[in-house]
């Protein structure tokens, strides 16, 4: 059975690249353009992994991450935070919110796909 991966990002071009990459690797891809829809899809579709942009309008990635971690029913879901802000405080904030991994933009698709495979292994 193919693993389901949710991409939550408000930049359409990044969504294009990420979904192309994931589909090429054989994953089933879901897309959410903002935090609120991302959380709804997490609850409804139960993806195994979420690629979560930290800075989305409305509900930020940090808030989505915290909400997922606060919900015992969503405990198995893995979260990889993507952020364009590389400050140490942002990384600390992401890890504090309960993300499993933290990757800064721009990222290498080659490295990223290795991380994703590990996380879904």
């Amino acid at each position: 059975m193919t693993d389901r991966v949710l991409i939550a990002d408000d930049e359409p071009n990044i969504v294009v690249s990420l979904s192309f990459m994931l589909k090429r690797e054989g994953y089933e891809v879901l897309v959410a353009p903002d935090g609120t829809q991302a959380l709804a899809m997490i609850r409804g579709e139960r993806p195994r992994l979420v690629l979560l942009d930290a800075a989305m309008p409305g509900m930020s990635g940090f808030e989505v991450c915290e909400a997922v971690r606060a919900d015992p029913e969503l405990s198995g879901i893995r979260i990889l935070m993507l952020t364009a802000k590389g400050r140490d405080t942002d990384i600390a904030r992401g890890m504090g919110a309960g993300a499993d991994a933290y990757v800064t933009k721009p990222f290498s698709t080659r490295d990223l796909i290795v991380r994703i495979r590990e996380m879904l292994a």
């Binding site: 408000d10 930049e11 359409p12 071009n13 990044i14 294009v16 690249s17 990420l18 192309f20 990459m21 090429r24 353009p33 903002d34 800075a55 989305m56 309008p57 409305g58 364009a84 802000k85 590389g86 400050r87 800064t104 933009k105 721009p106 990222f107 290498s108 698709t109 080659r110």
Partner: protein, 901 residues
């Protein structure tokens, strides 16, 4: 009639109760839970004003003179209107300089003059004796009325009950006023007892009033009606009163003025109002509670007086005992006993506070200076606190015995009220020196001395001596003028007739007093010490904590320690030096005896022995430089300079703090900006890198996918370069590095050109553009390229947000006053009110997250910066759902004032 034994037992029991109240008050004070820290208790303690004179005398006066008892209470009520101004200043001064009596207050103001202190004390002692005598007379008369015993004042003095009463009252005053070893502290227990007594006397008097008005008669109306039926009583109800022809304005004025001054100047009032004041704020409420108290205690004066006359059928001297004899005659013996207790309260309260206050003055201002000037006393080094206490105790006894003496000499000849007014007139002499000294810096010691001396001599000649002459102790011929000189007749000085003796005396004494006070002050030169004290008094509110210290010289620390120890006791002296060390931030053993410490020690000692004596003691212990007037001015100058420096320093600190905050927030802004720029740079880079890698790693990619990816990479590259350009552009404008090529610009032409260059954009979106441009507008001075940038930015924003296919954009140019206004209105979604303030912020882009038109979020901030730099404004009008209208204005101005923006 009541058994003498019962009366004595009840009286004694009551006095013991007072002692218990006082002890409780002292205990609470020691625990730091002051019983008297309340405006109610404070106001009740003021009611010590109502002595036996009020309690018995008012009824007597009402019975003989109708409403003539009233001015004595109207005066204080009027005085209270000024309490917040005058009384608060007195309290602040007394507190600041540790002043403990009215003699101290006046002497301190005029250069800490021992002579002035002694004079005020003498006037007080002599002036107050009739008042003390009055209390003795009232209590003994009350006792006689109650027990039916015949007056024994004609008996030999050692068989006179009044003497023993005076002695026992002295005992109580000693217990109340001189229990403490720390002399400068307030007497909390005494004040508590006085407040208690005020409550008792009010309750007792009201009880008798209710009994007479509603028990013996059918209410106030009934009494008035019956009084009207009897011509001799009806006369009392007229304003002029019985025995007076018409309304006598001068006398009303004199009595009202007299009592107005007395309520502040009487030693006991000064004691409870100023010295015993716990908290300045209590004055505010007490200054209406006290008049309310006076009103209450006077309500039943006329009913009782008239009731007594109706029942006993006479208006004679017996009227002063109506409060007792009315209940007694109706068999209400317990009420009579209660009324007697009320009278006893009134008398003892007055005697205790008055003698305590006067004894402080006698001790500090008469005895101490004499003792200190005798070398032997000054040299002995022991603790003097116990000696001081014993002096005060002796002074209390002495004052009461002198009062008794006056009672024996003059007591029989006068009614209570007349005796009291003699004292009032004496203390009224303090008013010019005291009140003037608080508000007039030019008043001098010579003026105060002259005024007081002149005024009190006139008082003695026109009021005191005649009272003795009437009693037969001076030949009665004295009243017709000494040596037969009629123009010197003490009650008709220089032929002045038509006034009663009190008004006559007040007129002459105050005229002489004020005349000398003002005249001598204006003529004389002031000493340095007077000038400095004048400043400290008059400007007590302006100075706050930073008061100048008028002292120069050298002192040795151990001399100061010894001095403080002698007058304050070892423990309090130790505490004083410890406090000073803590406040100045120095170690206790490295204190230096500088001016501030000397000043502090002097003030503390002043609390114990008075300012004048304290001055003498400090003088003897330290090597002082005598200050000249110039030195005083210099010190004032220094002090105000220090204040100015302090204020400047404070202002500088505030500015620094603000600057620091600003820097911090600028730093925060810069940090946020950098973070935003980074984010905006990384986002397109991410797409470019990811897509490029994916294409490299996916050789079998579909051609249409490849094309899509390449297009994305291209547009993201454009976005990147646009962003870099705009960031640099904004940075240049904000830092003032941008170049401005200002010239006369035709705004209409500029708009037409901008519309032409964006026409393709609108055509793609299917939007219609309407331009509403006037024929001609004045030229503005601006950089045309920059303005085009602004116009294109606004137009392309509008193009982005209008609905596809049915967009409508209106561009308008208006000449309004001295500016041009350009508006760009679209029919897009508009901007929510909560977001409107933020649209000009950097990196704030409008639109929904997913379907946001491309843009850097820097266009509007840059446009606004440009407009502001050209001296104009940019704003947004928008109702959500009804489109947005961006507008900017530019001022019309000539070349020359151009590039100062």
């Amino acid at each position: 009639m009541i058994q003498p034994g019962l009366v004595l037992a009840v009286s004694f029991g009551y006095l013991l109760l007072l002692v218990a109240v006082a002890a409780h008050g002292d205990r609470r004070a020691d625990q730091g839970r002051s019983l008297i820290d309340s405006s109610f208790v404070y106001a009740l303690s003021w009611a010590v004003y109502c002595s036996a004179w009020t309690y018995f005398g008012s009824v007597g006066r009402a019975a003989s003179g109708g409403v003539w008892f009233l001015p004595i209470y109207l005066g204080p009520m009027l005085a209270m209107l000024l309490a917040w101004l005058v009384l608060r200043k007195m309290v602040r001064i007394a507190r600041s300089y540790r002043i403990t009596s009215i003699a101290d207050f006046i002497a301190s103001r005029y250069g800490k003059s021992p002579l002035l202190a002694a004079l005020v004390t003498l006037i007080t002692v002599v002036g107050i004796l009739p008042y003390i005598a009055l209390q003795l007379k009232a209590v003994s008369a009350g006792y006689e009325a109650l027990t039916g015993g015949l007056g024994q004042s004609d008996a030999a003095w050692w068989r006179d009950g009044t003497l023993y009463m005076a002695l026992s009252l002295a005992g109580f005053a000693v217990v109340f006023g001189t229990r403490h070893l720390d002399l400068s502290e307030r007497h909390e227990g005494m004040v508590a007892a006085i407040a208690f007594e005020s409550a008792v006397k009010l309750a007792a008097f009201l009880a008798v009033g209710v009994f007479v008005t509603y028990g013996l008669f059918g209410g106030m109306g009934d009494i008035w009606a019956r009084a009207q039926a009897q011509p001799d009583i009806a006369g009392l109800l007229r304003l002029g009163g019985q025995g007076f022809e018409g309304f006598q304005g001068a006398q009303w004025f004199a009595l009202t003025l007299l009592s107005m001054l007395s309520v502040l100047m009487l030693p006991r009032q000064f004691q409870v109002m100023v010295v015993e004041c716990v908290n300045e704020r209590h004055i505010l409420r007490a200054s209406w509670l006290f008049p309310a108290y006076l009103l209450l205690i006077n309500i039943f004066v006329l009913p009782i007086a008239i009731g007594g006359m109706l029942i006993f059928g006479d208006g004679g001297a017996g009227a002063e005992s109506y409060v007792l004899t009315l209940p007694l005659s109706q068999g209400a013996e317990w009420l009579a006993l209660l009324a007697y207790l009320g009278g006893l309260s009134a008398a003892t309260g007055m005697i205790i506070v008055e003698t305590v206050a006067v004894s402080t003055m006698v001790c500090n201002d008469l005895v101490m200076p004499a003792l200190l000037s005798s070398g032997r006393f000054a040299r002995t080094g022991g603790d003097l606190t116990r000696v001081l206490l014993n002096i005060r105790r002796a002074a209390i006894l002495l004052v009461l015995l002198l009062g008794y003496l006056y009672f024996r000499i003059a007591g029989e000849a006068y009614a209570l009220v007349s005796i009291g007014l003699i004292s009032f007139a004496a203390v009224a002499q303090f008013a010019p020196a005291l009140l003037g000294g608080m508000y007039w810096r030019g008043a001098t010691r010579a003026g105060a001395l002259g005024g007081l001396l002149g005024g009190s001599l006139v008082w003695a000649y026109t009021l005191m001596l005649p009272s003795l002459a009437r009693s037969g102790w001076i030949g009665a011929g004295f009243l017709d003028g000494p040596f037969g000189l009629a123009f010197l007749a003490p009650q008709h000085l220089f032929g002045l007739t038509g006034f009663d003796e009190l008004t006559h005396s007040l007129f002459w004494s105050l005229m002489v007093n004020i005349g000398l006070y003002v005249g001598l002050s204006l003529r004389g030169r002031v000493s340095a010490r007077e000038a400095s004290q004048a400043l400290l008094f008059v400007e007590v509110f302006q100075r706050g904590q930073a008061q100048p210290v008028f002292w120069r010289g050298r002192a040795r620390l151990e001399d100061l320690r010894r001095l403080a120890g002698r007058f304050l006791g070892a423990a309090r002296a130790e505490a004083l030096f410890r406090d000073h060390a803590r406040e100045t931030g120095t170690a206790l053993d490295s204190l230096t005896a500088d001016a501030r410490l000397v000043d502090r020690v002097e003030r503390q000692i002043a609390g114990a022995i008075g300012t004048a004596s304290a001055r003498v003691m400090v003088e003897s212990a330290a090597q002082e430089e005598s200050l000249s007037l110039g030195d005083v001015l210099e010190i004032i100058d220094e002090a105000s300079q220090v204040r100015t420096y302090a204020r400047e320093l404070e202002e500088a600190t505030v500015e620094l703090r603000a600057a620091n905050e600003k820097l911090k927030s600028l730093d925060q802004l810069k940090d946020d900006f950098m973070s935003s720029v980074t984010h905006e740079l990384r986002t397109p880079l991410t797409s470019i890198r990811a897509l490029t890698e994916l294409m490299l790693d996916t050789p079998d990619i579909q051609p249409q996918e490849r094309e899509e990816f390449l297009n994305i990479i291209l547009s993201e590259s454009e976005r990147l370069s646009r962003l870099v350009n705009q960031v640099l552009d904004l940075a240049k404008i904000e830092s003032g590095m941008a170049e401005w090529h200002n010239t006369d610009v035709d705004m209409k032409a500029l708009i037409v050109a901008a519309l032409r260059s964006t026409a393709e954009l609108f055509r793609e979106r299917g939007a219609e553009v309407l331009a509403d441009l006037p024929e001609q507008v004045p030229m503005v001075l601006a950089d045309p390229d920059r303005l085009t940038q602004v116009l294109v930015n606004l137009l392309s924003n509008a193009a982005k947000f209008v609905p596809e296919g049915r967009g409508r954009v209106e561009v308008a140019l208006r000449h309004r006053g001295d500016e041009l206004v350009v508006t760009v209105r679209d029919n897009g979604p508009g901007v929510a009110p909560e977001d409107q303030a933020a649209v000009f912020d950097k990196f704030r882009q409008g639109g929904e997250a997913g379907n946001r038109p491309p843009g850097t979020g820097l266009g509007l901030p840059i446009s606004r910066q440009i407009v502001v730099n050209l001296g104009g404004r940019m704003w947004l009008d928008s109702q959500p759902g009804q489109g947005a209208c961006f507008a900017f204005s530019l001022p019309l101005r000539s070349k020359g004032g151009s590039d100062d923006g």
